[in-house]
Symmetry: C2
Subunit: 373 residues, 2 copies
């Protein structure tokens, strides 16, 4: 209960695209790299597509040429990036993947199903952000910090698909995998707190608009979601399956098994949307085969790549979506022995991660970086 | 993904006090009841206190006289209620509990600790909304639908304290107890989605103000909470204990044991604030001793008092805080067999309840009604 208004900066939306939000703003690259791959971004005008550009700039990802693709709606649009101007091209035009080495797809499952094989046929490695190929046994499903070995056989120049896991899965497993390696997770119960951004750029706009409308006493506009989102939460809008789980929840269940290469791990999940803009939270309860005490868990997490620990009990500071927005790292906190399990065989943790960044674009660019090694 | 703006009514804040939001608005009572108890409301100007008045009116709770108490800050304020005007009195004034039969306390733990015994000494039955006496072995902790027997020995005219459980506990156990009676809960994992109202009327105002500020690009005012709440979520602001749980979480752990009179039930909880106004959501994972299939569970819940089922998989409609706001019933949905447990020994459910209503004022008034029987 502190009064500390002055130190807080407001934060609502993702930064506007390409406003120089790179990690090293002083090193703007003035030229393309002749030895880099030629890259296509499919869905370049979307929330994830725009983040691809930011991440490529921030990480100095080398590229010989860049092609920005979207639907015919956006074809012809100009996008400035790293001192050049690009014209968005229509994905449906013939030959768009000719000469492309790496195609980063983020335009929905339908688009991936229709166009990814074409890109592969012309020799590109597709890094796909949709769910289209994730459970395909031929397609590696990769979080670089977790299972890089799964894509050992993928080579630049030989067409292939690598799938990016669902954002909730990535964020969860970034924190849980190091603990799993130590004590083996037998069962995991996940409840999510998912942001608007998971449903794309238009969903973020709708949350903002609805909030303005509700504050003004007006009826909220419901185009993307079928109900009021402002000042409300609701069960994730993914379709519900026969077993009562929604598709988002089943992704956590199935993708975890595939990524860990562990058919026996038992996972249940409840996925809920909350009125935040661009980062997800997840409350994760873990049951282990071997004992794992809280202090050891904290040490393991501290040493793990891509994680930051936010676990300050004295000042009640733990991961929040706001604090991880625009950050590469997944933040983990509320690390504690689960009282409801015996012999140090359980932990509760709370994680937050920027789901457009590590949950989508960053993870995909990291996969692309592995292809260059 | 429907466009249905016109059918949605905006809903943000609790209704202004006493704007006739009774269930039977046509039966405004013109006179007090000579055979009713004399009632005092401690904390009458607060979020829960104002809800007490609404609930009393809505349920036609009989009273011979009514005394509204608060701190000296509010003493002298006028409050119109059921065709009379009351003057708020200073709780610290001498003799305020003289002649009082039932005192409904909701002014914080400190106030209850200081003043409840005085009310008891003058013969009142105190129904206390704070956490001050909940774990006192002499004090019954009661949800009328769950454990009315716990207050069997409390009689009007004989001073006593009855404690109202924490709002998260009430909302959770309203749905879980009927299942527990059938199949015995061995272990329960709860993740909460808690509204601003849980921190009082000023917290709701702060969330509204912050949201306006953030939308306008201004720094959010942080007086009640120590960080930005608008478009954010954070770990519940209750103090963190030695074991890493916060006090709110430990209430769920301990109160469940006391209310069920079951020392062995294992509970873990992660309590998170989300930017909603007045109703909590809870994701609850259950492990049972006996098998319990989903259909039987649904039937049991349908027959249970004080619950409504919102579980429409086809149209993706499940409980939301908005839909339960200003409602007596706790809403339960997402009822499904937990995939991660065998032999039908697990269920996942999602519940929402108005935590000022059933989580506080309604439950307390129901306790008071039991005293009149
Ligand atoms: N949002 C996330 O955090 C997230 C995380 C992981 C994975 N993903 C996946 O990434 C994909 C896109 O998500 P998003 O959030 O970026 O969505 P978004 O903001 O709605 O953007 C969609 C993008 O796809 C393009 N597109 C749509 N239909 C197309 C078509 N028929 N042909 C070519 N391009 C088309 C759009 O181009 P126009 O401008 O022409 O419409 C736009 O560039 C989805 O598969 C999603 O599941 C998203
Ligand atoms: N909010 C909930 O949903 C909820 C649920 C369950 C239990 N509770 C419990 O109910 C209590 C009140 O919650 P709330 O949400 O109604 O808080 P609130 O909106 O902040 O109201 C607090 C009330 O307590 C009064 N008060 C404060 N200090 C006092 C003092 N020293 N002497 C006399 N009266 C005093 C205030 O009177 P003034 O106008 O004079 O300041 C006001 O009426 C707390 O113990 C809370 O834990 C709340």
């Amino acid at each position: 209960m502190q009064a500390a208004a002055a130190v807080h900066r407001p934060h609502l939306l993702a930064p506007s695209p390409l406003r120089g939000r790179t990690r090293r703003p002083s090193t703007v690259r003035m030229a393309l790299r002749e030895d880099g791959p030629s890259v296509a971004i499919v869905g370049a005008t979307g929330a994830v597509g725009q983040e691809f550009l930011r991440v490529i700039a921030a990480r100095d990802f080398p590229y010989r040429s860049l092609r920005l693709l979207a639907s015919e709606r956006s074809a012809g649009k100009r996008i400035a990036f790293e001192d050049r101007e690009y014209t968005v091209e229509d994905l449906a035009a013939p030959g768009v993947f000719e000469g492309i080495d790496i195609a980063l797809f983020s335009a929905g499952g339908g688009v991936s199903r229709t166009h990814a094989r074409t890109a592969v046929a012309s020799g590109a490695v597709v890094v796909d952000n949709s769910s289209a190929f994730r459970m395909d046994p031929e397609v590696p499903l990769v979080i670089p910090e977790v299972n890089p070995e799964a894509m050992a056989n993928v080579r630049l120049g030989k067409g292939a698909i690598v799938a990016n896991p669902n954002c909730s899965t990535i964020i969860c497993l970034m924190a849980v995998t190091p603990l799993h390696r130590q004590a083996k997770v037998l069962r995991m119960v996940v409840s999510t707190y998912q942001a608007a951004s998971g449903a794309g750029a238009a969903a973020m706009e709708e949350l903002k608009l609805q909030t303005q409308e509700v504050l003004a006493g007006k009826a909220p506009t419901c185009n993307i979601f079928s109900q009021q989102y402002a000042f409300n939460i609701f069960s994730h809008n993914a379709p519900i399956l026969e077993n009562g789980y929604n598709e988002e929840e089943m992704k956590l269940v199935k993708e975890t098994r595939k990524i860990w290469n562990d058919k026996d791990v038992r996972v249940t999940a409840t996925c809920i949307r909350v009125p935040t803009m661009r980062a997800h939270g997840e409350s994760v309860n873990l049951q282990f085969e071997k004992p794992l005490d809280e202090d050891t868990a904290r040490e393991i997490l501290r040493a793990a790549p891509g994680l930051t620990i936010s676990d300050d009990r004295a000042s009640n500071r733990f991961p929040t979506p706001l604090e991880v927005s625009d950050k590469d790292e997944v933040s983990v906190g509320r690390i504690r022995q689960d009282l409801s399990q015996e012999d140090n065989r359980g932990l509760d943790i709370f994680v937050c991660g920027d789901q457009i960044r590590k949950g989508a674009a960053l993870n995909a660019v990291q996969i692309a970086e592995m292809l260059l090694k």
